[in-house]
Symmetry: C2
Subunit: 480 residues, 2 copies
């Protein structure tokens, strides 16, 4: 290992030593974020933002394919508007940032910086929906939102974060539930196919629902350290918001009806999930679909005649089929290897005088550091195949981690024991349906309910907590 490479790797705290520090080291050293004097807010730097742009592009395409249109609502919500739905305001008011002055004048009514936009969409729907012909409305917006959190961490929990929020309005309950489930499936496909991140689909228990929702569906992923991360949510509101905001439409028989509503969101915390699902002690590991650079070409002995030219030619060829780049700076190859390992570039391509002589190059895949020689003639085919291999390899490793860390338990004692022995992870255990048992399990074992998974299993007949007959199997875990 070259000296420079050694040095850089030493800079990242080992994840086994201090997982939290390993995480923030990667955020900073891979140049994803930088801190600011605005407490709890961060700068998303070019490399981090390029990941988000790729996430946006793919998700936005999936939204449009399923018939959604983008809009843009104001970032402010008048206090009286936020208060119209009782559960909603109770959930969000404690973490709102409030604008009270415009210029030098005190506002008559204070404005909240949107923590989410249900209330604004409701007001808009009331203005534009009158007849069944106006339905469904399938809207989405890409904006940032603000929640006044006490403790913050880059991507995972910050006072401002970027997200998309889908908001839809439907004539019937069935249609709205179908939409809620459709978007949960879109999220699942996105995470598994593009982020190579396996997720559990499920429903939140009542105590964990979105403020104002009848049902909250979610997808839960398991991080390297055995903690769970909610990667996306999809809410079914019934007609609760429509009633609170008096949205009505005339059906085909000209009777006034309340429509049914959904909302669903994914955020920049996905970047945190990518780091903690795929990263290792050498740094970030990016799934190819969202990697800003998929293949980095590194010329070896680039001062020798013909090397740079050939390396550039190879890079230009690859640019036609993927996001390729070349580092022809004066840094040593060793420095470059370490740099792009840390930045998680999925594939590195090395090419030097010997390779050129043999009409080949060296290909190294980031996730397993596997090194292969590739004939230049069939380079495009091999690179495509390698990128797919990286995605598949990442997915399998993440799935293996989750399976190894998923424990079926019948009692709270079992939970405590298995977590102590094997470390944090998902616990599968039965539940009677009583929120008090949820609370008690958390007190006794430290794990809270994550979701009622769509794919139910039978672990035992009785509740893991109270011993009464079980109603459902839950996933439990410590959560980000």
């Amino acid at each position: 290992m070259a000296k420079e490479q050694k040095k850089m790797v030493d800079d990242i705290t080992s994840m086994d030593e201090d997982f939290a520090k390993w995480y923030t080291d990667i955020c900073k050293k891979a140049e994803l974020i930088e801190y600011t004097s605005v407490k709890g807010c961060m700068v998303i730097r070019p490399y981090g933002y390029a990941i988000w742009e790729n996430i946006q592009r793919i998700l936005d395409g999936m939204f449009k394919e399923t018939g959604h249109q983008n809009v843009c609502m104001p970032m402010f919500i008048p206090e009286s508007l936020l208060q119209k739905e009782k559960d909603h305001v109770e959930g969000f008011a404690p973490e709102c940032a409030w604008v009270t002055m415009g210029g030098s004048e005190k506002l008559e009514e204070r404005l909240c910086v949107r923590p989410t936009s249900e209330t604004l969409f409701c007001e808009h729907f009331k203005n534009i929906v009158h007849s069944y012909r106006d339905l469904p409305k399938l809207y989405n917006q890409w904006v940032s939102v603000v929640r006044w959190e006490k403790t913050t961490r880059p991507f995972l929990r910050s006072r401002e974060f970027l997200w998309q929020e889908g908001h839809t309005l439907h004539a019937t309950e069935e249609e709205a539930i179908e939409e809620t489930e459709r978007m949960l499936n879109v999220y699942t496909e996105f995470c598994q196919k593009y982020l190579a991140m396996p997720v559990v689909q499920g429903m939140k228990t009542d105590s964990d629902k979105f403020a104002g929702a009848e049902r909250t569906y979610c997808i839960e992923a398991l991080m390297h350290d055995g903690k769970a991360l909610q990667a996306g949510t999809s809410h079914y509101f019934g007609d609760g918001f429509a009633r609170a905001f008096d949205i009505q439409f005339a059906d085909k028989e000209n009777r006034l009806q309340y429509p049914f509503q959904t909302s669903w969101g994914m955020t920049t915390r996905l970047i945190g999930a990518i780091i903690m699902t795929h990263g290792d002690n050498n740094g970030l590991v990016l799934p190819p679909a969202v990697a800003p650079v998929q293949v980095m070409v590194v010329p070896v002995a680039q001062h020798k005649q013909g090397v740079l030219e050939k390396a550039r030619e190879v890079c230009d060829r690859l640019k036609k089929i993927c996001r390729a780049d070349i580092d022809d700076s004066e840094n040593t190859p060793g420095w470059k290897f370490a740099e792009y390992e840390m930045k998680g570039v999925p594939v590195r391509l090395e090419i030097g005088p010997k390779d050129i002589e043999n009409n080949q190059c060296v290909i190294v895949t980031r996730h397993n550091r596997e090194k292969t020689f590739a004939p230049l003639d069939s380079l495009e085919e091999i690179i495509k195949q390698k990128l797919q291999e990286v995605r598949d390899g990442l997915y399998e490793a993440a799935l293996e981690n989750r399976e190894r860390r998923t424990y079926a338990c019948k009692t709270t004692d079992e939970i405590t024991k298995v977590l102590e022995e094997k470390g944090d992870g998902f616990v599968k255990a039965m539940w009677c349906g009583d929120p008090e048992c949820e609370e008690k399990v958390k007190e006794l074992t430290g794990v809270g309910s994550r979701c009622i998974p769509v794919e139910q299993e039978h672990i035992s007949d009785t509740c893991v907590c109270c011993g009464k007959p079980a109603k459902a199997m839950l996933y439990w875990g410590k959560a980000y």
Copy 2:
């Protein structure tokens, strides 16, 4: 004209009768925006937002081609940070929205919702720039900003608007000035080529510069009603911000130097400019490059056998080369014609039983309502050509309007007279360089200085106001 068509057209106020009402009618009836209970803020609806998405996509591509990277800064600026550059805070503080509460707690320091982000970029640059090797930084962000305006109008002036703000940092003055001018040229090309909107390139006089800038370059367009609209600005800051924020870098000789800075922005007001440059009494007219739908296929006598099938086939063919759509709803063709005229779809394609018999269709271009028959066999070629014709026709008409409404004047009396006789427009007149003369011309004639155009002309030897020797020719006008 079918009854439905007549009715819809009647709904839009004529621009000759009331230009301001004509404008807001289009904003509302073409479903670009909707008002909200948040004063001075609006909902950008799907059709309006799709125009913005096209603007974003093209501009973002141009930024990336010129080496810029996207980032994302926080939306909040602590008051102490905003105050670091004296001119800047003086310019912006009066129109800031202030967050003073987080949840139920009063903040120790109030936060301004960004009206622009120079201060945040400066703080970030200070953190990440240390050596000449770190330069240049060529950054951009797509966000919304807030300015607490008293009087607001959709797109033209609203309390929150969407924009991009480029922020760059350079080792030398020359390089920074080059960047400022490069981006002005990018803006010019974008407006002229893609929005079919001719613009005058120039520099703001000192009294009209951006708060904190050494020079503000701008592009100015002339609207239908003879009023000027600033379509984009590009600022050169010298090292003023760098000194205020103590940003320094070590040059090649390891001496500490202050870097030089620029910023440049374009906003959703471009959509207002499109409306007022190309729109007519039938509604919106969209330049093809940013039109959400470029070709709308309208089947005629669609109940007759084979019509719908053929129309859909034609639409599918067109989708491969442009943004095409079909309206196969049960509304009458007359209703559809009026609807897509109002929405400004550049090309309408009509196809009925007779056309199918003759293996042709009817093509109507929105801007001049020219009707041609096109053989279906060469449809793709003809549509491409028509879309180019629309862009060129729009540009020529807008240029003709501007030229007709641009008046060379030697005295303030001449200005008053020509404006009275011919209506509002650009006035070209000489200026001695004294801000008092600028002020006085405005008082006497109603037109303010718009810019010192890059392309200077000689109108007379002396200042239009004081009669002293002239230093430059200015464009003057009433402005949005």
